[in-house]
């Protein structure tokens, strides 16, 4: 009897191990464990055995039943593991179905990146209207009445010239008037950015545009050392370019700051060694900045003896051109999808 059990075990082990499909396995299960299966037959014959043998054979038989059943289960798992719902020649190199692929304009993307950085540093975002008055564009900021920027050669003046008998209107030539509007309507100290498009009446080429985007940031507080501005600029640029960027501040003249700085960034293309991008000097002019001019503070009805601060003006077009290697500034206003779709 024991011998028979051994034969069944070996037979089962061999056949189950070779089974390749779930169906085969199902048949084997019936063959060994089914109503008329080999083990069932033996179990049925136990009452016919000697009394002394019954207990041991019964035990062995149950053990065998369990072994066979385990073997079937484990083979079943093996088969499932190998199985695929998909035919063998399925081409997994076909491309995926893409979600809708729209995009923000690359300048908007840069602007939002900067907004996120500045917001994380506690700056508010302010937007001024595109059309402003001579009062805010020039008078308030102490541009002398005959300053060249006031000429129609430089600024887009609008009709009606004198809508109310007061001031002339223009498409804003810079954003500084916007900062004055913000300061007039908020309480100091100030930390805010004011991105926007500005307009200059000039001829266009690959490097010049009539409409371009600026991003200005202003801190006004009772004390602020301009050397701290370096930290501000370094933080911004490192975040924009995703790596540590060296900056330097050197003397420069800009109408809304005193002292003014030309802020240079270590050339990312050559790492400062000098290349054609940085005109072989290793540095790239990236933005002007400085301490807000007392006239700007006065226009905002602040006492320049009591307030100081830091200002930067980031040319977004230029920064985006550097970020992607765009070689023609006019593409930004082209609305050409062949260009814009590259920024999805």
């Amino acid at each position: 009897m024991k011998n028979r059990l051994n034969i069944i075990f070996n037979d089962g082990k061999e056949k189950i191990g070779k089974a390749k499909t779930i169906d085969e396995l199902q048949n084997l299960k019936a063959h060994f464990l089914g109503k008329h299966g080999a083990i069932t037959d033996i179990l049925k014959s136990i009452p016919l055995l000697e009394v002394s043998e019954r207990a041991e054979i019964g035990r062995l038989c149950n053990k065998l039943k369990k072994s066979i059943s385990d073997m079937i289960e484990s083979q079943k798992e093996k088969i499932y593991l190998k199985e695929s719902a998909i035919p063998e020649n399925f081409d997994f190199t076909v491309p995926g179905i893409l979600p809708p692929s729209g995009a923000l304009h690359p300048i908007t993307q840069m602007c939002y990146d900067l907004n996120d950085i500045f917001r994380s540093m506690g700056f508010e975002i302010f937007e001024e209207s595109d059309i402003t008055s001579e009062l805010y564009a020039f008078d308030n900021l102490n541009f002398p009445p005959n300053h060249p920027a006031r000429e129609s050669m430089d600024t887009y003046w609008l009709e009606p010239r004198d809508a109310s008998g007061h001031s002339k209107l223009c498409l804003r030539p810079h954003l500084t008037g916007a900062s004055v509007r913000y300061m007039q309507t908020h309480e100091p100290p100030y930390r805010f950015v004011y991105p926007g498009r500005v307009y200059r009446n000039e001829s266009t080429d690959a490097r010049h545009e009539r409409a371009f985007f600026q991003y200005e940031a202003l801190i006004v507080d009772s004390s602020f050392a301009f050397s701290s501005g370096k930290i501000l600029i370094k933080s911004i640029l490192s975040k924009v370019f995703g790596r540590d960027v060296s900056v330097r501040m050197r003397t420069g003249f800009f109408p809304f700051v005193e002292p003014g700085f030309e802020i240079d960034m270590n050339c990312l293309v050559c790492g400062g060694k000098g290349c054609s991008v940085c005109k072989h000097v290793g540095w790239i002019e990236i933005m002007p900045g400085g301490t807000p001019h007392p006239n700007v503070l006065r226009a905002a009805r602040l006492d320049p003896d009591k307030f100081t601060g830091f200002y930067v003006n980031i040319g977004l077009d230029r920064l985006v051109m550097m970020r992607y290697g765009v070689d023609d500034v006019r593409l930004f206003h082209s609305a050409d999808l062949r260009f814009l779709k590259q920024f999805s």
């Binding site: 700056f123 050392a225 050197r250 609305a335």
Partner: protein, 811 residues
């Protein structure tokens, strides 16, 4: 501007081992941007002095000759040359093999090699001035002449740069960085900066003393615009070219030598930044008058240009006519010529804005005007006069000053500035010793006094007209001398009151991100000036628009009152490359009305609204889907961007819209925009022939953001809910909105949602009928419904639709 280092050395003694790269760097960091450092000797490698020993004909060419030339050593070299002035013992410039020259002064530099010219080997070439960049210093008197150095004490074989002392270093300075520094428009000014940067001694220019001679007759009428007029009449001038030393200086600084008189005036200008105008005294009749021009008064300038002046131009004149356009350029008639023997020198000071206006009005740019427009100090004339008399006296032995006049009409006020040292330290972020401040500022010409906590500064006249007027300016002087790089950045201190919460700002961004990332649209930017063709195509009324006085082009003179015209232009242009796409733009639009200002009663601004507009483009056969897609963009927007829902109603048809497919967009009771198919007529006018365009435009300023998310949690049903689809036939005139209204009247507690699935017309559907598939969501919160209960619900719906709208269940 070009700065010659040899010239600088006249005024300040530079350390022997001065590193030019460092000098350029330090000037860039602290003073002005040095764009380039040029070593003039680099152009003269392998270019040497030669002495022609023999000249004989070339066997194979009539115009060429062979010169046996000594270029140092005993050996004579044969050089083939076509020069017309070749003669034995002539000293010439020889480009040896390896030298780089410009053939006939044109094209790129070419390396000289030993080659055969018509069968005769030539050891390099004998050069014309233009071939080695010396045409301005050695102008040939006729074509084909080579440079004759016979008058120079130079030896054969010596390098030309050394022999002629052309070993200069030229700093090229970006003029933009000089706009606010009138003091730096001459070598002396730059020398002063260098002296201050490196603590070197600046040499003085000999003080000026007025000659005691007859008074030159000058009548200064416009004494506000001409703040000082110094006139000096010199006799004993014989026309000649200036000494090589003078020529070389002005040539290194980028000007072209002409004759001694003009060269000296240029020399003085380049030295101290003060323009000097010289004209022929014998041509002057009567007093020199400085007055405004008469309207339409004509002048022919010395460069040949004819101008018609206006009363805002300043001129000098005599009894006969105009002598000059003051401070800019002289009249041709009074120019120095070969006959001139008496000269009047004008050393004047003109008010900058008048000069700038005349320059712009007549599109003139001269070295003189470039300096006056920056604002020069009248005291500077003294330095110029002193230098002028000294050099004229040296060059013209018989020169004497015969008449002289100095009308000093406007003395500019002295500028004095008081600065608190505590303020200085807080702005600079560092304590700087008083001694240091004094030393540096005094080198720059300031006078400094300290009294306890304050410093009192007297600004030198040459800085008072330009960049120094405030204590911030003095702070900058101290900081730039200390070096901006040498300040340790201090951490930024901050105080916190509340988190930033700007829902309006966020709304704009969320809408853009929704359209780009959720709806797959591309953001575009177009100009605020609208293209007339597209504005007319979409029938926007220009009476409601502002216009640009000098527009970018004739068909772009209005600023837009809607984003749609330029958007349609973008559609039309992109159709060249794409047939299906969707784009949007967010920007302001402007209206010629509702003038007001929230900021200042002295200004009024027109109505300006922030707008967002989109266009979805496809082929005509996709109209129904394109309509639903675009409408879906608007319907789903409020939930994504957290604002009140948008609804649609027909109230006012936009002019540009199709006669059927249009809707006004509402938020609450307020119209916030339009949504429609671009009419066929407008599309054709835009050049869009084979495509359909769905457009929307919303006024972002009107949209109301929620302060936070508003959706509420709904309990999940404990029992199954069933989707039940029904297709019914309706007359074509029945709208989904009618069906929805009817369904809403059913009011059955077990029906939770009724939605549109599909609409179909065509085969199998009777004419004038359409099949609409509706999905009902049916279920109970108390139990699982039996199929009979579900059927009862459906039957109620079917009955209602049949009675109200004549809907028939499809077989």
């Amino acid at each position: 501007m070009k700065i010659s280092l040899n010239w600088i050395k006249d005024y300040v003694e530079l350390p022997k081992n001065m590193d030019m790269t460092k000098l350029a760097y330090d000037l860039t960091m602290s003073t002005v941007e040095v764009e380039n450092v040029k070593y003039l000797s680099e152009n003269f490698e392998n270019i040497v002095v030669g002495i022609i020993k023999e000249v004989y004909p070339h066997p194979n060419a009539d115009k060429l000759r062979i010169c046996k030339t000594c270029i140092g050593g005993n050996e004579l070299y044969e050089i083939v040359c076509g020069g017309t002035n070749l003669k034995p013992e002539m000293k010439v410039i020889v480009a040896r093999p390896g030298a780089r020259v410009r053939w006939h002064g044109e094209g790129d530099l070419v390396e000289i090699k030993k080659i055969k010219l018509r069968g005769v080997e030539s050891y390099g070439m004998i050069c014309a001035a233009c071939e080695v960049g010396l045409a301005d210093l050695f102008p040939p008197s006729s074509e084909g002449e080579i440079v004759d150095l016979s008058d120079f004490d130079v030896s054969a074989g010596s390098n030309v740069a050394e022999a002629l002392d052309l070993n200069d270093v030229v700093l090229e300075i970006d003029n933009k960085s000089l706009t606010n520094r009138p003091d730096l428009w001459g070598h002396y000014g730059i020398a002063r900066e260098i002296a201050a940067l490196y603590d070197l001694k600046l040499k003085n220019i000999a003080p000026f003393s007025a000659p005691k001679v007859k008074i030159l007759d000058v009548n200064l009428i416009e004494n506000k615009r001409c703040r000082r007029y110094v006139g000096a009449k010199l006799s004993g001038i014989n026309m000649k070219s200036s000494p090589f030393e003078i020529k070389k200086r002005i040539w290194s600084a980028g000007l072209k030598p002409t004759n001694a008189v003009i060269d000296i005036t240029n020399y003085v200008m380049l030295a101290v930044g003060q323009p000097v105008y010289a004209f022929d005294a014998d041509k002057v009749n009567g007093a020199i008058i400085i007055r405004c021009a008469k309207d339409s008064e004509k002048i022919k300038l010395s460069d040949g240009k004819q101008l018609s002046l206006s009363s805002s131009d300043l001129v000098t004149c005599d009894n006969d006519g105009l002598i000059s356009l003051a401070g800019i350029l002289g009249e041709e008639k009074y120019s120095i010529d070969s006959e001139t023997s008496n000269v009047i020198l004008e050393i004047a000071n003109y008010e900058p804005s008048g000069i700038r206006h005349t320059e712009m009005r007549h599109e003139l740019r001269t070295e003189s005007a470039a300096r006056f427009e920056k604002g020069l100090d009248p005291q500077r004339c003294d330095m110029a006069i002193s230098l002028l008399f000294q050099i004229f006296g040296t060059i013209f032995e018989n020169m004497s000053i015969v008449e002289y006049s100095d009308i000093y009409a406007v003395h500019l006020p002295k500028k004095e500035i008081d600065i608190s040292l505590a303020w200085l330290e807080s702005c600079i972020g560092k304590h700087i010793e008083n001694d240091y401040i004094t030393r540096k500022l005094e080198k720059l010409g300031f006078k400094v006094e300290f009294n306890s906590d304050n410093m009192h500064v007297l600004v030198p006249s040459w800085r008072a007209t330009g960049d120094i007027s405030l204590k911030n300016d003095i702070m900058e002087e101290v900081a730039r001398m200390y070096g901006f790089e040498n300040f340790e950045p201090l951490p930024i201190k901050t105080s916190f009151n509340s988190a930033i919460n700007q829902p309006k700002v966020d709304l704009d961004r969320k809408i853009r991100e929704y359209l780009a990332f959720r709806c797959g649209m591309n953001e575009i930017f177009t100009y605020p000036w609208v293209n007339s063709k597209y504005n007319d195509a979409l029938c926007f009324d220009t009476r409601d628009m502002l216009s640009i006085i000098s527009p970018p082009s004739a068909d772009e003179c209005y600023v837009r009152s809607s984003l749609l015209p330029n958007l349609c232009k973008a559609v039309s242009e992109n159709l060249r490359n794409f047939s299906e796409f969707s784009i949007f733009e967010s920007a302001q639009v402007f209206f010629n009305r509702n003038f007001e200002s929230a900021y200042d009663s002295r200004e009024v601004l027109p109505m300006q609204r922030k707008s967002i507009a989109g266009a979805c483009v496809s082929e005509p056969k996709n109209l129904f889907n394109l309509f639903r897609k675009t409408k879906g963009i608007l319907e789903a927007m409020p939930k994504y961007v957290h604002m009140e829902p948008l609804t649609f109603k027909k109230v006012n048809k936009p002019n540009w819209a199709d006669s059927v497919v249009w809707l006004n967009v509402f938020q609450g009771k307020e119209t916030v925009g339009n949504f429609a198919l671009l009419s066929r007529k407008s599309a054709l006018a835009c050049g869009i022939k084979k495509s359909i365009v769905m457009l929307f435009e919303l006024d972002i300023d009107l949209l109301k953001p929620y302060t936070s998310r508003t959706n509420e949690f709904k309990h999940l049903a404990d029992y199954p809910m069933v989707d039940y689809d029904l297709s019914l036939l309706f007359d074509l005139s029945v709208k989904w909105e009618d069906i929805l209204d009817t369904l809403n009247q059913v009011n059955n507690q077990l029906i939770h949602k009724m939605s549109f699935v599909d609409e179909y017309t065509g085969e199998q559907i009777a004419e004038h009928k359409k099949s609409v598939t509706i999905r009902l969501l049916i279920g109970s919160f108390e139990k699982t419904l039996t199929s009979q209960e579900i059927k009862n619900c459906v039957d109620v719906v079917i009955d209602k639709l049949k009675i109200s709208l004549g809907g028939e269940l499809r077989d």
